[in-house]
Amino acid sequence: MTSAVQLEAVSRRFRRRTALRSVTATIPSGSVTALVGSNGAGKTTLLNLVTGLLTPSTGAISLFDHLAPGSLEALGRVAYVAQDGPVSTSRTVGDAVHIARAFNMLFDFDAAVVRLQRLDIDLKQRVSKLSGGQRAQLAITLALARAPELLVLDEPLSSLDPIARRDLLGELMGHCAESDMTIIFSSHVIAELEKIASHLVLIKDGEAVVAGEIDELLEHHRIFTGTATEAGLVHDGHGSVISQAHPLTLAPRVIRFAVPPTGNALFAPVTLEDLAYAYLEHAPSGSGELSK
């Protein structure tokens, strides 16, 4: 099995708007994929499609090479922590853990209890009285206890404090080191991604403007500081400028190359943040996405 998730021209329309248009991407198994985009861009819709809560309007999604999202086999292997960490409408935390065990053939009850203890979440506590961060941690606990092959998280860090964030990321990376777990998480904060993510999918207005391995993406982009004309002269037709700065100002411009340029001292390497911002601000021109 090489790919955990395969999206082929997936689009999703709702009554009055199109949330996603023709998204094509492959998420390899074992990867850590960051799904980035502004609010309302379509990240949650994409995650709902991957986890089987929604079906695509057009196109196809396959999990683990041959499974349909939402099929019983897929459900057993995919764990989803949706935004705000929903759990069952149970009364207590302990109830929630028992119920999660009832709902899954594969469930490590003891490990879930241990993790909750480590986080100082009392089993007798009422779920409705948990803080946002605690509820998120509970949802994550229940997901991890299922030992999923694919873990999908919708903005998991937003309700966590910085220490909890770092601890969680460390824990998830530990899981990746040990097993073949694939992780997809959505984020609208770009700063921390470069450390943990191996792949990036950037969604802007429902389109996947970037989808690929981060190292390769960084290899194929450079920054040039200057006017638009100068930039054009320097890349000499081998690249296309992504950044949307005013043509006459001396601004840093992110340039995409089909073939990684060598030996040109006027280009500087680009960081993931530069790249993401450039694409997110870039007006859609149908230039297609960089898919690897």
């Binding site: 929604l54 292997r77 069952s88 899954n104 594969l106």
Partner: protein
């Protein structure tokens, strides 16, 4: 937390594998609702049993025209139990997880949404059926013993509070609430819609004429098997004892008459247990085989009305939770 668990994805899991694991979880998840239902139904059964004790010998009661106030109130409340079940148990069942978003948890678990919904419904239907039967038996027995002279009202009470009617009306109430919950996906809206729907159903059922005409339609098509006084269309007047409360009277044109509209002589003929007299007084009697409690035709009640409704509601629920995601998921944030 390590990946030391043995994946069972290669092993096909069927409902029988899942049920023993799943049912305790459902019981725990719906603990409050299930307990409330049990408490209410059992409480009513207990109260009704005390009334049985007080009522005494059946015949004496009929002749004395005694009427027991407690039984009347108990029956009245029990009559409306399906509404309670629909509004407080059925309506929030799926509306709450759909509104709060916790369905995103439940429907991405290994069990899958269909098995989850099916098992939840099965658990509640089972409980309602099992609890309805003793309650219904006690109440029916009591009503059988009372005079039919209380007119249309008692017909409704008796009709709804015999075991099978109570079971399937409770179940239908539950399913109506559950279905509306899946349709509207918001608790308050569902509560309002369920209340309205139950009022509509009850109005239709208690407008004696309409309901009886409808049930008559079924009755005319159901076979009967008691010999006795032959009626139109091959139906027969049943054995004329206290089961007579199940009979529908029509005039010679086939229009249903309610008891209060009978003339004195007609009522006398009825009370005198004289079947052959009835026709003399212009009463044409339809065998209420559909609703005759002691008749093995009680099965007809299910087939004729209850089962079809129950199946239709369940199918509708699954249609709404199934493929048409447009109705289920909408954007939550601007």
């Amino acid at each position: 937390m390590t990946a030391t668990l043995t994946p069972t994805t290669a092993v096909p899991t069927t409902m029988t594998t899942w049920l023993p694991r799943l049912v305790p979880g459902i019981l725990r998840l719906h603990r409050t609702a299930l307990t409330s239902v049990a408490v209410i139904y059992l409480a009513f059964t207990a109260v009704a049993l005390t009334v049985v004790h007080q009522v005494g010998h059946p015949r004496a009661v009929i002749l004395a025209g005694q009427f027991n106030g407690t039984l009347y109130s108990v029956s009245t409340y029990v009559f409306y139990l399906p509404v309670l079940v629909a509004v407080f148990i059925g309506a929030p069942m799926f509306a709450r997880p759909l509104e709060t978003g916790t369905f995103r948890f439940a429907w991405t678990q290994g069990v899958g949404r269909r098995r989850l919904v099916a098992t939840t419904l099965i658990v509640f239907v089972f409980e309602l059926t099992v609890l309805s039967i003793p309650l219904g038996i006690v109440l029916s027995r009591l009503w059988f013993d009372l005079s039919p002279q209380f007119g249309g009202v008692w017909v409704n009470h008796h009709f709804f509070t015999n075991p099978w009617m109570l079971a399937y009306s409770s179940v239908i109430g539950l399913l109506v609430g559950a279905l509306l919950g899946v349709v509207f996906r918001r608790v308050l809206t569902t509560l309002a819609a369920t209340t309205a729907m139950m009022i509509a159903i009850y109005l239709w059922a208690t407008m004696v004429r309409f309901f009886q005409e409808t049930l008559l339609w079924f009755a005319q098509r159901m076979p009967s098997s008691y010999a006795g006084v032959p009626l139109r269309n091959g139906n027969y007047l049943a054995h004329y004892d206290y089961s007579s409360v199940n009979l529908y009277f029509t005039d010679r044109f086939g229009h249903v008459l309610s008891y209060p509209t009978l003339s004195q002589s007609q009522k006398l003929a009825l009370n005198q247990d004289n079947a052959s007299e009835l026709r003399r007084y212009g009463l044409h009697v339809w065998q209420g085989s559909l609703f005759h409690a002691q008749f093995h035709g009680f099965l007809m009640m299910w087939i004729g009305f209850g089962v079809v409704t129950v199946i239709a509601l369940v199918v509708a629920i699954f249609a709404f939770i199934g493929g048409n995601d447009r109705l289920l998921l909408r954007r939550r944030r601007p």
